[in-house]
Symmetry: C2
Subunit: 342 residues, 2 copies
DNA sequence: CTGAAAGCGCTAACAT
DNA sequence: ATGTTAGCGCTTTCAG
């Protein structure tokens, strides 16, 4: 591999000049030509490591997700595209919904000297994240936030998303509405539960505590909890499930128990993925603006990296939409009639 | 951030000694203690960039996948875990099934100076990949290979996997067996098609060319091609679909057309993901040993990075398994009875 | 066993 | 407009 020195020597200029050409600084056209030519000739590629050592910038950003499922990977894709466009590359790693592992991954990213980070925190008290901020490396929280922490975050309005979902069930005439919650140490889990509770409050309805279950966001927990709910002497007639993995688990359980949806039980889930769309029947879901979340987060992070702290800390609360499908609507198939394709 | 110099100064030793302690070389216990203590005291963390510049190793490896779907991300997870265990971190990027983009991503990884790469090539004539090999950076092809190229690869036996799938259909008594193929410029696409053809040859059966369709691995193409097949005046009674996205698309099409599986059409897919498992009915699938693929690839790459070229170039051809489910077996549900859970 | 010193390849003052 | 030079933080001969 040729170095900048080789180029300088061959072109008969100093390394500084070559560097200037490389970085688009003012250089006499004639010498620039000459340098460019020798660069091509030698097949020279700047050594990014050396450059990083000098500039203290790696042009790399990290993204810590809880898992590699469709929801977060959709965001990752958007983020990667945008950041690539700015000349940054993305390192994605997964925390496995485990604060310890999250900390380890963040540490690794720190040591790799990333210029910034996007994190989906696995707990609402991530003291470690704050250190980063103090160290001056921009961090954007995405999807979930951390309590008592002042930093940029891109979230959705989970409370009202959940509210809308549960209200939809009530409007449809369901009375015994259960909920399968996610981890309450995570803001999305807690907020969605809060939305559920608020509906009952607003409608002045009684809640049967038996219908409230707590899972850990995993397919397995959705499966197990749905079985529990349906084994009750007085089972629910509808269930709100607060993320997509648990929804899948619940659908599998329902299927295994040979229960009819929505006739015997109505289901509304959170997140819209291929799974919920392909499921039979398709699941009514609170859909999050994935594309927008990714775009906003990536662009905000880029601005922070560039030193623009004008509106820091900025919190986005994007709105969700309720997509009604057959799992809460027996008429769905007829009404739809070709409106939803592949 | 303190540097090695700060540590050396504070501990009253030379930077060389600190470096030795850091790298576990022989140092008098007493001085080692002292150094370790000041490292802790100052909260010193070695600067990996500086180290990389010196050692020419980044302890990073790249992984280029066609997409962020479940199949490849499952592999990525395995690979990441293993490599992390060896002290390497993984940069995953997606080529979007596009050779140009793949080239760009590989180039980026090269410039980032990764110590090695795992690539799922998007074409069977990736001249660019060979350059890497010449440059001495280890590359392992995974899932797909490149023709006329001598390099390590971890593949599955697609031909026999497909063969088994189609033979299963024949055994079940289906006659008009269609196929939805993937991109033929990609070895998996071509090999699976070959497996399909071979069955007809071996059984000395006539093929109706009308039943052979070519897609691009996407859900959309699976959807469109299945619609085409089922709109034929003489439609197939079974279809083999050569990857999971197209299988999903096909299932959606079938659903939309209100066709019953397996009564009116039997389906066998390639790849086993949540989608094919959750689908109604669940799809009989050729399942690939994802875990094993990841393990083998990661460990092989590690060995190559460590300079062990003993068995180069090594080609693995792992065996697939056929998982029979309801999409080819009306009796499935009864037979199963609790054998398959969440 | 430890220290001095020379770089790895690049950028950025500072000079010219 | 270009060249000189001093590092960025680390590893690694080579001496001692």
């Amino acid at each position: 591999m040729p170095t900048i020195k080789d180029v300088a020597a061959k072109a008969g200029v100093s390394t500084a000049t070559v560097s200037r050409v490389l970085n688009g600084e003012k250089v006499k056209d004639e010498t620039k030509e000459k340098v460019l030519k020798t660069i091509k000739l030698l097949g020279y590629r700047p050594n990014l490591i050396a450059r990083s050592l000098k500039t203290q910038k790696t042009h790399t950003v990290g993204f810590v997700v809880p898992d590699y499922g469709q929801f977060f990977m959709q965001i990752a894709k958007v983020v990667e595209d945008i950041l690539n466009g700015y000349g940054y590359s993305l390192v994605v790693c997964y925390s496995d919904e485990n604060p310890e592992r999250e900390k380890a991954r963040i540490k690794m990213l720190m040591e790799k000297q990333v210029d910034g980070m996007l994190v989906v925190p696995t707990s609402d008290q991530d003291d470690y994240l704050m250190e980063l901020n103090k160290q001056g490396i921009p961090v954007i929280l995405i999807d979930r936030m951390v309590k008592d922490v002042q930093t940029d975050c891109v979230l959705v309005d989970n409370v009202n998303g959940a509210y809308q979902a549960v209200e939809h069930l009530i409007t449809k005439g369901y009375h015994r509405i259960g909920v399968i919650n996610g981890r309450q140490e995570v803001t999305t889990g807690e907020e969605r539960y809060r939305g559920y509770l608020r509906v009952f409050e607003d409608y002045n309805l009684q809640i049967d505590r038996e219908l409230i279950r707590f899972g850990d966001f995993s397919t397995e927990s959705g499966f197990a909890l749905m079985k529990e709910l349906m084994s009750l002497s007085n089972p629910p007639d509808a269930v709100f499930i607060t993320n997509c993995y648990m929804t899948i688990g619940a659908m599998l359980a329902i299927d295994e128990m040979n229960i009819k949806v929505p006739d015997e039980i109505a289901i509304v889930g959170f997140d819209d993925t291929e799974l919920t769309r392909l499921s039979k029947p398709p699941v009514t879901s609170v859909v999050q603006p994935v594309q927008e979340m990714g775009e906003i987060a990536a662009n905000l992070l880029y601005r922070r990296i560039c030193g623009d702290m004008s509106d820091y800390p900025k919190m986005y609360r994007l709105k969700t939409t309720l997509l009604v499908r057959a799992s809460t609507d027996p008429e769905w198939k007829k009404k739809l009639d070709g409106k939803e394709g592949a």
